[in-house]
Structure formats: structure tokens, C-alpha cells
Amino acid sequence: MIRYVLRRLLQLIPVFFGTTFLIYVLVWAVPGDPFAGKCGQTACPQAYITQMTEKFHLADNIFVQYFKYLGSLFTGDWGETFNGTSVGELIATSYPITLRLAVVAVIIEAVIGLTAGVLTGLRGKGFLDNLVLVSTTFLISLPVFVTAIVLQLALGTNGLGLIEASVSDNPSIGELIVPGIALGSLSMAYVARLSRTSIAENRRADYVRTAIAKGQPTSRVVGVHLLRNSVIPVLTFLGTDLGALMGGAIVTEGVFNINGLGGLIFRGIQNRESATVVGVVVLLVLVYLLMSLIVDLLYAVLDPRIRYD
């Protein structure tokens, strides 16, 4: 087990350098002058451009720039935005909010998705199955921003009046439920389908038949034997999804004006704040890597075949 963990940890290093380098190059190499639109209808004064170029090492070779950035990153300095705000500070204020939102979304999709999946998987064809099939198809076909805006308008002040169009600066869990539904809706549909298929398949597996033949109560057959085996693919999905949700929150956070990481990227891209974008994406890469590591480890715990490989 320890060798397995070590191997997985070592694999993270090249992945980290590779992804951050790609991101850095891609973001800073976006064609166009970052100062082009900064000064309204006139061109920016040369003195301003010179100062900014120097401050952000823009005149250097992109590799040099990257290593300078990496150097300061390892000392805990995430860099500065063009208006002089520390990116580290921005991330520090916004990541708890995004984390809260992502957790709300994962809980919603896990609870609703798994319940729907287990129920339909056990019962098989029927009204409920059709209902879940139709509604998940519907949700999958809707992009997140449509779901978000529809929810915002339908439940907002001009609709049912249940929620406000934007959440407060430091939103409570309650305020995040509707944005969480919007954010998690797509994955919720996948979780429902994934667990339904998985359950339906395993229902006829030999070990389930054996368990029933042994005379075990249905709750134990379903709860322990069936669910534990069926949940592996779902768990993989949920784990990586938590990472995806942190990034996928871009649209949702933009719509509900949530000051999380997604909102930070949303504005960063709008204003061409490359420092912010790189910083947040690097963080997301870390979260992703960590989440997939955890999922792999959980896998190893759930399935001995992987552990002893």
C-alpha cells in the first residue's frame, strides 16, 4: 500500500510542472496586448506600459517568465493583479466560498442522484424509471448557464420571489442551495444514470444471488453487498467532479454574483488579468491532482485487487 501511495505521489510532480507550464504559456501568450483596452479610446501612455512590462517581467522570454513565476510561487507569492491586489489574498478570500458551493453541489448530486439511481436500478422498468430517464435527459441537454439563469429568473424576485438574484458577500449554506442545484444538476443526472446501470447490472451478480440464498435480509443485501460494489464508479465520478465543480463554478458564480474562485476566473478573463487566471488555475490543478489521488486511494481501499497490483 505504501509503495502504491508513493508511486502515485511521485507521479504528481511531472503532472504539476507540465500543467502549470502549459497554463502559464497559454494564458500569457494570448495574442493581443494586455494593455490595449486599458486606456479607453486612446492608447496607453508609454510610461505606463514600460512600468507594467517591467513589473510583470513581460519583456522576458516566456520560459524565464515561467520560472520566475514558479520561484515566487514556491515562496508563497501568487503574484499581483494589474491593479495591485495580491492574488494570494484574492484566492484566500474566495476559495472557502467556492468550496462551500462545491460541497453543497456534491451533496445535492450525491443524495438526489444516488437515491434516484438506486431506486430505479432496483425496481427496473416502470413509471419512476421513465420519469428519471426523461428528467435526466432533460438536465443533461441543458448547459449550466441556462439552468442557472432559468432558476435565477424563475425563483427570483420577478418570479416566485423565493431567492434573491445575487447572494450576499459571505453566503450562507442556505443561500447556496439554488446555485448548488444549478451547478450540480448536470452531474446529478450522470450520477443517477451511473448508479442505476451499476445497480441493475450487479443485481444479477452471483454474489448477490448467493447473499439472498444465504437468507440475508434485503436491507443487508442491498446496503452492503450490492451498494458497496456498485458505488465504485460513482465514487470515481464524484471525486473528480468535486475538482471539476471548483472550475465549473465559473458560470454559476458569475450568474449569482458569488465571490468564489469561479467568479475570480470569470472576472480575470474578462479583464485579462492573467496573473489571477494563472494563479487560480494552478490552484485548481492542485485540487484536481489531490482529488484524483484521494479517489485512487479510496479505490485501493474498496477493491483489494488494485492494492496488491
Binding site: 483596452g37 486606456c39 479607453g40 492608447a43 510610461a47 484574492l90 432559468v150 454574483n257 479583464n271
Partner: protein, 542 residues
């Protein structure tokens, strides 16, 4: 120079969808003006965007930052009323005999928010700071006609400035200083009303980094706190002596990522003021039903033109310019596409500016027959294009203009979108347009001069068409040098007449300025810079 840089990230798809969906939401509450009194200690929240730079007046020219700067600092001259009449705010008097040397006396007893008195040296220090090249301030060009600017800001970017003080600024006492310009410039006494000319307190020069965290101004409101991407909080400065006091206590500039969301909040009363409406609300005139008497209309001092750059092959052709101009049905487009948020334009100066006239551009009327005739004479072959950034509702009117040209002249015309404002401006300033381009201008300070020199003088900072007419240059030079205000205006008008004959760009429409207030406010105005007119805001008692 300040241009609406609202990059409403929502893609066209989002906008269209929001539009369709919003149409289902509809509904408005009419009972907005309650009969209750006003609350002098109320709180007002206004829509904001993240400032582009730290809140230092010489380094801010975007809408988001200006919204805070403008009310935190008081300049020598203020502007009031719909036509932005200049009046002496911090200045006691500004006198000149030759429009070259200005004697400026400031009022005594005014204080910065940290309690120190505003003195003449605060102005001189601030202006020197703004002009000094190594400081890299965005608004440095505003100081460029003060004597000695070249010494602190050499044209060669690698040269080290010889000094950090401009010779044209001379301290005459605690409350008096003298400004000498490179040459006569009659509009200087209005120009100093621009925010870049605000005084800076001594604490700024001691610790600029600390100042950025907690700016100290001399205006009607003082800084409380700022959370990036979230809000900027200001509160009333009770020692303020100016005429433009505010009639509420706290100001919360709330930063939104999406204008659509802000608009929803405005309708529900969570946000009190928005200086512009999202495209989905403007479409189909929906905002009129949404807002009712909460609609705030202003009078923006700005014009929208379409530039025909002289460097594009085939465009150096007066008949073509006439044909295109006469082929655009301005009245129809402003009414049906822009839903009365704009009015047709036929001159190069925004209406309301002293010296602005109507009908200066004789080719700015829709005249299909004459347009066809001019087009035949021009001998132009090929396709016409109009380029612009497509976000923020820019695309629709220009597409309509293109269609109008196409239908009238029978020539192919396409709208060419740029992804965002930044990319768009780099195309224009890099002189890489391959056809016509949107060329809008809003006044930095309300003067006829600000509509001509930067845009039509050879090498002007916003001369998008690369227009150059020696006669225009010489008349503009004369006008700048004329001390008598009325005589100067006459000369500027002459220059405008000449420009209207050459049609370097085609005036199309003027923006009225449509803003919105919430049901919590009794009154609110929109000023000529598309800023909330803070002194006019009154909060209803809850």
C-alpha cells in the same frame, strides 16, 4: 478618453437567452416614489466594476475606479447641471491674461480626510507625480501641455528624466500657485476639473503603498474599506466644504460580475443605482415597463461615429464617405434597434456642450437618392465592413447600419466583430482596420475642445481615421491660443465645419444615457460622464 469598457462577459448566447427568458419574467412595481421623507443618514449602493488600478486619481480612468475617485476627491473646478456648467469648486479664482500663464488661488480651510489642510503644494506635488515618467501613471498625458513636461517625461522611453518637477508649476504661497503652459490654451481652466488634477495629501508621498490600501482624498466622501471583487465602501466626510455635498451617509459600490444579475438586484431593491442597463433590458424597450418612474435619463456628453480610416485602400474618397453617411437611416435605427436610448446625430460635438450646433454635418441625413448618386460617382468596388467589439450591445446598431447601407447602395456590407474591447482597441491603435470602425468618444471635461483636438488633429491621441488636414490643425492651434472664450469657440466651430466637409468619420448617434434607480431612492441623477450624480441622490425614509 474614458470609454465604457464594460466587457459583459456573458456571451451573445447568454444575452439572447436571458433576453428570451427575461421576457417571461417581466412585471414591474409602480409604487416607487413613496410619500415618506428622506433619510439624510441612509445608505446607497451603486453598481460597480473592479477598478483597473489602485485608487490614485492620476492612475484611474476607467468607469469602475472613477466611480469612487470622483466622490473621494474634489478638483479645482466642478461641473453641475445637465449641460455640465463648470464652477469653481476648490479654486477660489483662476485668472489668466494670455491663456498661457494661469494664476490659481484655492479656498482656505478645506481639509483632506486625514485632517490636514489642502494647500497649493498638494496640487503641485500631485501634478508632478502624475507627469513624472518613472511613475508610469495612466493619466500622464493630461499634464503634457504644462511647461517642463518634457523634462520629467522624455519622449524617448529609455531616457532618464532630468528632474521630477515641472518648471511650469510655481508655488506662490500656501493658497496660491501659478501654472505656465507650453503655449496658450484657453480650455485649461475647464480641463483642471478632470479627476487627474485632484490634489494629493502629504501622506501619499510618504507612503504610496499604504495610500493604495487606504486612499485619502479631499472630496465629499471618504474611504472606509475595499474588498477586491466585492465592494468599495465610502462614508460621508462631514468636514467637507464644497457645494456638491452628498445627502446620504454611506456609499457601497458593489461589484458585480454580470450586469444582468445587477439589474435583477436593482429591480428587487437590493441595489440602488445602475448607470447603464444590460442589453437584455434595452432590447424591445423592456426597461420602460420594468422601471416605470424609476428610470433615470441623463445627458451624456459623448458621440458615436463610424470612422473611415484613410489608410484603408479605396477609402480616401470623399464621395464614398458621403454615400455611406447618407445611406444610414439614423432615425429608424435609434428608434427600433436602440429603443430610444440614443438620438440621431448630425454634428461632431455632443449637444449641450457650449458651442455645439445641430446640422453641422450636411451629409448626415438619410437620403437614399443622393447616397446612390454619390456612390456611383465614387467608383468604389468591393465590400464594405464595419468593425467593433461585439459585446455590450455594440453589435446590433452597427449591423443595422450595415444593412441600411446595403439596402440603399446595393453594396455588400458586413459587421466584423472583435472579441473584446482590448482586442478591438489594439486593432484600432495599431492602424490595422480593414474597413470602417466604431469610433466613440465621451468627454473627459465638458468643452468643445475635447471633441476636436484628440480626435481630428494630426496625430491626435484618438485619431482613429488617421485624419490629417493642415488647415484644421492650424485653426485648432489658433483656437487653443485664443484667450477670449467666445472667440475660441467660434474658431473651434470653424474647425468643425471643415471636418464636416471632409467626413473623416461619420456622426451617427448620441447616447442619451439611460440609468435606473431602485425604489429606495427618492431621486438620483446621471451626470455627463455616465457616473451617478452623487449630490442629487436622496434616500427615502424606511
Amino acid at each position: 478618453m474614458r470609454r465604457s469598457r464594460r466587457l459583459w462577459g456573458s456571451s451573445a448566447v447568454v444575452t439572447t437567452l436571458a433576453l428570451v427568458l427575461a421576457a417571461c419574467g417581466g412585471g414591474s412595481s409602480g409604487d416607487s416614489t413613496g410619500s415618506g421623507g428622506t433619510d439624510p443618514d441612509g445608505t446607497v449602493s451603486v453598481y460597480g466594476t473592479e477598478p483597473q488600478n489602485a485608487l490614485v486619481p492620476t492612475n484611474i480612468n476607467d468607469l469602475g475606479g472613477t466611480k469612487a475617485i470622483q466622490v473621494m476627491f474634489a478638483t479645482l473646478v466642478g461641473f453641475k447641471g445637465a449641460d455640465a456648467q463648470p464652477f469653481n469648486l476648490m479654486a477660489d479664482s483662476i485668472t489668466t491674461t494670455d491663456s498661457k500663464v494661469y494664476d490659481i488661488k484655492i479656498k482656505q480651510g478645506w481639509k483632506f480626510h486625514d485632517g490636514t489642510e489642502v494647500k497649493a503644494h498638494n496640487f503641485i506635488d500631485a501634478w508632478n507625480y502624475g507627469a513624472y515618467a518613472p511613475n508610469g501613471q495612466l493619466n500622464t498625458d493630461f499634464f503634457s501641455n504644462i511647461q517642463g513636461y518634457k523634462d520629467v517625461h522624455p519622449e524617448d522611453k529609455n531616457a532618464k528624466p532630468a528632474t521630477d518637477k515641472m518648471s511650469g508649476l510655481v508655488l506662490k504661497g500656501d493658497y496660491e500657485f501659478q501654472v505656465t503652459l507650453d503655449g496658450p490654451f484657453s480650455v485649461f481652466s475647464i480641463k483642471v476639473g478632470y479627476q487627474a488634477f485632484a490634489p494629493l495629501p502629504d501622506v501619499f508621498f510618504k507612503d504610496p503603498k499604504g495610500f493604495e490600501q487606504h486612499p485619502v482624498g479631499n472630496g465629499p466622501m471618504k474611504f472606509v474599506s475595499r474588498t477586491p471583487n466585492q465592494d468599495i465602501k465610502l462614508t460621508r466626510f462631514d468636514d467637507y466644504k464644497g457645494d456638491d455635498k452628498v445627502h446620504f451617509k454611506d456609499l457601497n459600490i458593489k461589484i458585480y460580475a454580470s450586469q444582468e444579475t445587477a439589474y435583477q438586484d436593482l429591480l428587487s431593491g437590493r441595489l440602488d443605482f445602475m448607470e447603464a442597463l444590460p442589453p437584455s433590458a434595452v432590447a424591445g424597450g423592456k426597461y420602460k415597463a420594468d422601471l416605470g418612474d424609476r428610470l433615470v435619463t441623463g445627458h451624456l456628453l459623448g458621440i458615436s461615429t463610424i470612422a473611415l480610416p484613410y489608410y484603408v485602400p479605396g477609402y480616401d474618397n470623399l464621395e464614398l464617405r458621403k454615400a455611406v453617411s447618407m445611406a444610414i437611416d439614423r432615425a429608424q435605427i435609434t428608434k427600433t434597434v436602440m429603443n430610444d436610448t440614443y438620438v440621431p446625430a448630425d454634428s461632431y460635438i455632443a449637444q449641450g456642450i457650449p458651442g455645439a450646433r445641430t446640422g453641422v454635418c450636411q451629409f448626415c441625413k438619410f437620403d437614399p437618392a443622393a447616397a446612390k448618386e454619390a456612390f456611383a460617382k465614387s467608383g468604389f468596388k468591393g465590400k464594405l465592413t464595419i468593425a467593433s467589439n461585439a459585446d455590450g450591445g455594440r453589435k446590433e446598431p452597427l449591423t443595422a447600419a450595415c444593412n441600411s447601407i446595403k439596402n440603399t447602395l446595393g453594396v455588400e456590407c458586413d459587421f466584423v466583430p472583435a472579441t473584446d474591447f482590448g482586442q478591438w482597441r489594439s486593432i484600432v491603435t495599431g492602424k490595422k482596420l480593414t474597413g470602417m470602425g466604431r469610433s466613440d468618444w465621451s468627454a473627459d471635461y465638458p468643452s468643445i475642445e475635447d471633441f476636436l483636438n484628440p480626435i481630428y488633429k494630426t496625430g491626435g491621441s484618438s485619431n482613429d481615421s488617421s485624419y490629417s488636414n493642415p488647415q484644421v490643425d492650424s485653426i485648432l492651434g489658433q483656437a487653443d491660443a485664443t484667450a477670449d472664450k467666445d472667440a475660441a469657440v467660434k474658431l473651434y466651430q470653424q474647425a468643425e465645419d471643415l471636418i464636416a466637409k471632409d467626413l473623416p468619420s461619420i456622426p451617427v448617434w448620441d447616447e442619451k444615457g439611460v440609468a435606473a434607480k431602485s425604489k429606495n431612492l427618492k431621486s438620483a441623477g446621471l451626470d455627463f460622464r455616465r457616473m451617478p450624480d452623487y449630490p442629487s441622490i436622496e434616500v427615502l425614509k424606511k
